[in-house]
């Protein structure tokens, strides 16, 4: 049985008549990068706030490192690092002073960790510049640095790549991968940038309207993402007719830009391309593809909304 870092049991948070979370049973295994996906107001931040002790559950149980009673949970939270709804910085302090304040808060002995952390997040040359004058990317990196103080076993990062430029996003992704692979840190990361999560996460949890719809591993997700052949030809209407009459399939769709998604004949793409060219169609694009996380997520919550 896999060792878990966080497990919730029927976790519910109710505000008056509205459920922010409704009987959520979530498990995060040790060593995983858990991508937490949901729309605004789906309940991601509420769950993170409950786990970190900033809010209190209406009913249900939280187990953090196997600890679940009130006092044990407080102790267990010393083993986590957090960014919750943006980096928590003292704007009038420098990066080093911000780290020093949080070092004292966490009771970490010795000041060596400050320089080391600044180097990890690439802020070692920032000097005495105050945090209020930092770019958003620098603030995010300092926020991650603060979360890393004390060598936490579990990082909880709520939207850590918000506002970062493309290079910053890549840097943070590589940093998180390194922390996970080299230091074995378990990471819970919520983000709206699903393409980034797809490059990072080993596990996923999809939350919608306070309910955890699904938990799955990256390989399960890849298996579930619908495969298709992406086709672009000079005459999409004729191509559609040929697919129905010659290939005998209606399992396709023609997009407004004329691109065709063919969901059948995945095992024989050469037969499809030959059929099209034999029927005097000019193929401009032809490639097997899979849906990405974004499409899967949209379909998943769309199914709930209309189902």
């Amino acid at each position: 049985m896999e060792e878990f870092v966080l497990r919730t049991n029927n976790l519910t948070k109710q505000y008056k008549n509205q459920f922010a979370l409704n009987k959520v049973n979530l498990t995060i295994n040790k060593g995983s990068i858990y991508g937490f996906i949901g729309q605004n107001g789906a309940g991601k931040s509420t769950l993170i706030r409950l786990v970190t002790g900033l809010a209190f559950p209406t009913t249900g149980k939280i187990e953090l490192f196997g600890q679940s009673n009130k006092t044990e949970l407080i102790e267990a939270r010393r083993r986590i690092g957090t960014i919750i709804e943006g980096p928590a910085l003292y704007p009038h302090l420098s990066a080093a002073d911000n780290l020093e304040a949080h070092r004292l808060l966490k009771g970490i002995p010795g000041k060596e960790c400050i320089q080391k952390t600044l180097e990890i997040v690439g802020l070692q040359d920032i000097g005495k510049k105050k945090a209020k004058n930092f770019s958003l990317g620098m603030k995010q990196r300092l926020g991650i640095g603060i979360a890393l103080l004390g060598e936490p076993e579990f990082l909880i990062l709520d939207e850590p790549i918000n506002g970062l430029d493309p290079m910053g996003v890549v840097e943070i992704r590589e940093l998180l991968k390194k922390l996970n692979q080299e230091y074995g840190i378990t990471i819970l990361i919520s983000s709206h940038i699903l393409s980034e999560l797809h490059l990072l996460a080993t596990h996923y949890g999809i939350i919608h309207k306070g309910e955890l719809l699904e938990q799955l591993t990256a390989s399960e997700l890849n298996g579930k993402c619908q495969q298709y052949i992406h086709i672009k030809v000079d005459n999409p209407d004729r191509a559609a007719t040929i697919m129905e009459t010659v290939l005998g399939t209606t399992h396709y769709e023609v997009l407004p830009d004329g691109t065709i998604k063919l969901y059948s004949h995945l095992e024989a793409p050469s037969k499809v391309s030959k059929t099209l060219t034999d029927n005097a169609l000019l193929i401009e694009q032809f490639m097997p593809m899979g849906e990405d996380l974004e499409t899967y997520f949209t379909n998943r919550i769309g199914g709930v909304q209309h189902g």
Partner: protein
């Protein structure tokens, strides 16, 4: 608890609002006796340090002790909510009671420092300028300073309680300044109508603080002067920590 005190002390040391208030008060405490001396001429008619201490330093300090720490409460406590650092404190693996206690203790220390600037700096400078003429009795001086610290702590406990409720620097400062300006008048007026409120007011830190400059205290009076602020500090501190314990940090 020790690490949390170090954390809060570090923040107080780096708090610009605190240092602005401290330097502003030091400047006022330096300039006022200088004005007196320049006005009256050095050495012609020596200024009584005792009189200046009792009337100006302690009398003027009434407003400082009640009002200036309100500004610090806004910046040192409430602003932690708006800048989001209260979230990292709440998630740090420390109990809410300890977090609040450490913050209250260090905030009280800041309020105590603020409360001592006028009596100490103004009196010290006046003593030097007047050649230590007619100095206040050392016992009286220390007793009034001790009581000033005690009442500053009592008021700061009430301020920390309000700062935890409002969680916004502007609202906290506005409410507290109005509260401390009006509370005496409100309790006094209520006391005129209902004897219960008169008793409350007469035994409150607000009223008793006005008596700290009395030269002598009757039997049991000093005990009351000590116990009331202590009880205020503990009671407001406990209520504040209870509110913080139940509060969802946003």
């Amino acid at each position: 608890m020790g690490k949390l005190l170090k954390f809060e002390l570090f923040k107080l040391r780096k708090d610009r609002a605190f240092w602005t208030l401290v330097f502003g008060l030091i400047a006022a405490a330096v300039f006022y006796p200088m004005l007196i001396f320049f006005d009256e001429g050095f050495g012609t008619d020596p200024v009584s340090v005792r009189d200046l201490y009792t009337t100006t330093a302690l009398g003027g300090n009434n407003y400082i002790v009640r009002l200036v720490p309100c500004i610090l409460a806004g910046f040192f406590i409430s602003s932690e909510y708006s800048i989001g650092t209260m979230k990292s404190m709440g998630a740090s693996g420390n109990s809410r009671f300890r977090l609040f206690s450490a913050k209250l203790f260090v905030f009280s220390l800041g309020a105590a420092i603020i409360s001592l600037i006028f009596p100490v700096v103004m009196t010290g400078l006046t003593a030097i300028l007047s050649g230590f003429y007619d100095m206040p009795d050392l016992g009286y001086f220390l007793r009034t300073l001790g009581l000033t610290i005690l009442y500053a702590a009592a008021f700061s406990s009430l301020m920390a309680l309000a700062a935890s409720i409002f969680t916004d620097a502007g609202k906290t400062i506005g409410f507290l300044i109005l509260f401390f300006i009006l509370i005496d008048s409100i309790l006094y007026m209520l006391g005129q109508e209902f004897s219960f409120f008169e008793t409350i007011y007469n035994h409150s830190s607000f009223k008793l603080y006005l008596d700290i400059s009395k030269p002598e205290f009757g039997s049991g009076e000093l005990l009351k002067m000590l116990l009331v602020p202590l009880i205020t500090y503990v009671a407001a501190g406990l209520i504040g920590s209870f509110i913080f314990l139940k509060k969802e940090i946003k």
